[in-house]
Symmetry: D5
Amino acid sequence: MLFHVEMDVRIPYSLSAEEVDALKQAERVRAMELQRSGAWRHLWRVAGRYANVSIFDVSGPPELHDILSRLPLFPFMEIRVTPLCRHPSSIRDDDQ
Amino acid sequence: MLFHVEMDVRIPYSLSAEEVDALKQAERVRAMELQRSGAWRHLWRVAGRYANVSIFDVSGPPELHDILSRLPLFPFMEIRVTPLCRHPSSIRDDDQ
Amino acid sequence: MLFHVEMDVRIPYSLSAEEVDALKQAERVRAMELQRSGAWRHLWRVAGRYANVSIFDVSGPPELHDILSRLPLFPFMEIRVTPLCRHPSSIRDDDQ
Amino acid sequence: MLFHVEMDVRIPYSLSAEEVDALKQAERVRAMELQRSGAWRHLWRVAGRYANVSIFDVSGPPELHDILSRLPLFPFMEIRVTPLCRHPSSIRDDDQ
Amino acid sequence: MLFHVEMDVRIPYSLSAEEVDALKQAERVRAMELQRSGAWRHLWRVAGRYANVSIFDVSGPPELHDILSRLPLFPFMEIRVTPLCRHPSSIRDDDQ
Amino acid sequence: MLFHVEMDVRIPYSLSAEEVDALKQAERVRAMELQRSGAWRHLWRVAGRYANVSIFDVSGPPELHDILSRLPLFPFMEIRVTPLCRHPSSIRDDDQ
Amino acid sequence: MLFHVEMDVRIPYSLSAEEVDALKQAERVRAMELQRSGAWRHLWRVAGRYANVSIFDVSGPPELHDILSRLPLFPFMEIRVTPLCRHPSSIRDDDQ
Amino acid sequence: MLFHVEMDVRIPYSLSAEEVDALKQAERVRAMELQRSGAWRHLWRVAGRYANVSIFDVSGPPELHDILSRLPLFPFMEIRVTPLCRHPSSIRDDDQ
Amino acid sequence: MLFHVEMDVRIPYSLSAEEVDALKQAERVRAMELQRSGAWRHLWRVAGRYANVSIFDVSGPPELHDILSRLPLFPFMEIRVTPLCRHPSSIRDDDQ
Amino acid sequence: MLFHVEMDVRIPYSLSAEEVDALKQAERVRAMELQRSGAWRHLWRVAGRYANVSIFDVSGPPELHDILSRLPLFPFMEIRVTPLCRHPSSIRDDDQ
């Protein structure tokens, strides 16, 4: 099932450039794994902001929380979750 | 290029059931046309609200405005537009 | 799976007392059915407001939307949905 | 009587990992005690956020404040309290 | 126990002057009864606004809701409830 | 004359426990003095938050500012002031 | 003593042009009287909005409420009141 | 001097199509006159909303208010005004 | 021309008492100069908050920005600017 | 195509004056380059705040994000992006 997730990243200035780079690299690796597994179905950058809009396809809120709370940047993100479903005017048979 | 669009629909109680049905049917027909043409790339219902989250793929803000402002329910919608772009951690080469 | 749902009811003054009573009675019957079926697991009144806080246990966002959007008072409600999951400090094995 | 309590946790980055772990462990022990005593009737994790939604069953605002203000993570929590009561459409005789 | 209650009144323009007068008069009578009974412990007008700040002393959220939801002006009020308790720096022994 | 004052306290984590204790103790002594003098007519704790709701009875905004700005915790408080007056439905002859 | 008052006017479209003109004319007459008496010390229009920023010099919240609540446009105004006092860096001896 | 003005238009549903058309046509004529005179220096449509972002070049707040408050759609607009000035990093010598 | 300016001051706790005193003293000197020159026409303290409400009389937004951005406390202030003009119901011939 | 961009700058107090000066100088150089290239079409200072209002003319959200996210002050800015298009009442044939 689908969840719309908006993530705003605010890394504190006290972290060193090395720590930030390591976090971003780890986040990138994890985001790619989750895209390949199909759980992170869409991932877009919000133009002009250190933020993304994502669509997750997971088995439910527990799996979603498990994924999000283990992201390397989770401690530095403000996250808003919105459950989605198929729209009655969609031309697709499922929630794609 | 991609735009994230959230639409909240608030139809005034003064409209008759026939007017509302006609508006919804016209909206549905138009939404399907735009999905088939590729401009309305994704359309999801927000669970529990008369609202949707959509992704539009258009040539720019003018085409986006032209499409949205001609939707039959446009006078009754609160709309928020956010420009998107490819995320550097996306596993895709384009903004899909 | 669980969803936290807050509903604020605002019935327009233009409805007659009969229409309001019929709506409230239909809402009440439906709410009781859904509680008995287990889908509407908890239903509490917010003290001092025409509003409730509810916990729904459904198969996913589609079933939740199906239930909420068919409530008799749906056109007059402002609804906020929050997906929940088991808390790691819960003394229960499931999400109860 | 029942109170709906939402807690958002924001632990400052300046705390050491050991301090954070000790706080979380103490919080967990206390949360379990309070659930067993019946005062913390429900405890759910909000999916995707370091936050919970809880239902407390206490003798009144004084006991509620006493409990919340002594939680180990209290200095790091943003808390919103909403008093609840039995809903007239509830199928239960009490406020469960 | 004590609850802090803020009430903002917005009477729709469609009501006749007679209806408004009758509502205000009924509200006044009821407010005085509740003050005399001790349930509505304090009642102040907010300077410059059709609003009040009140302190209620009731047996719990159910009695508070019962009182507020039966006020003649309830359908036209926006209400915010905040549970209070004795402050540790109070010079009084109870929550007065 | 009466002023409704809400105070939210946020003490920065960088203060030592000794500094915090000294501040709180000084605040407590001053709050008691002001209650005894009659200027701080009511003082209640907001359940679940490090905040209070107070009623001040002072000669005007200058005295109110003088009192509030000299509170030991003033640099760490977010304060909202609302002027009050006697409510026309009050059963008292003055603004009590 | 001084109070800063912001007033936003929203006259409902259902009023006739004659009613609106009569209200505005009555408001104007009353505003001038209050300026001449010294109670309404300053009155400025907010550029681009049907709103004003005012400074009242009154004996306290009761007189302020009495004045504001009797303004002809009071039922159609959103009002925010802020108590002021002399600034310690003012070059004047009083609160002018 | 320059002012940044955002206008959101909300025409009430109770107006007839003829009234709305006449208002929009009058607004259009006036907007063009003001652009030609140089007072309305820039006028852009906000994509997806019945709103515009404008830059006015006027002699001061009085002229700005005079212009805005006489626009045919003024009674139906929510307006926000922000004064601008030349940016120190601008490559232009004036505020263009 | 007139501008309504609200300034909220938030000095970070990391500044030493000497730095804060020097800043406040410099701010005070500058505020008095600007009042004497006529540019800072009114300056009032907001009761209960480290904030002021001011009226500036300047030649336009550039002079206003020049004045405000050079205030010693500018880096620590949250500022909101609102352009004002003479109110049609003012008893004065100018914008005083 | 055009995008309306608002930037609020908040440089943390922990940066040294040298670091801040270097950042501002680098920002200034880059802003001038982008204005000369035509991408940063307009740049205005918001009077009284460390903020600007800008109009960018770019090939789409990707180029806009590329430009904004490489600005030297980007880590210290709060940015809001609004896509614009030609207004139907504009006297110009394009979106100027």
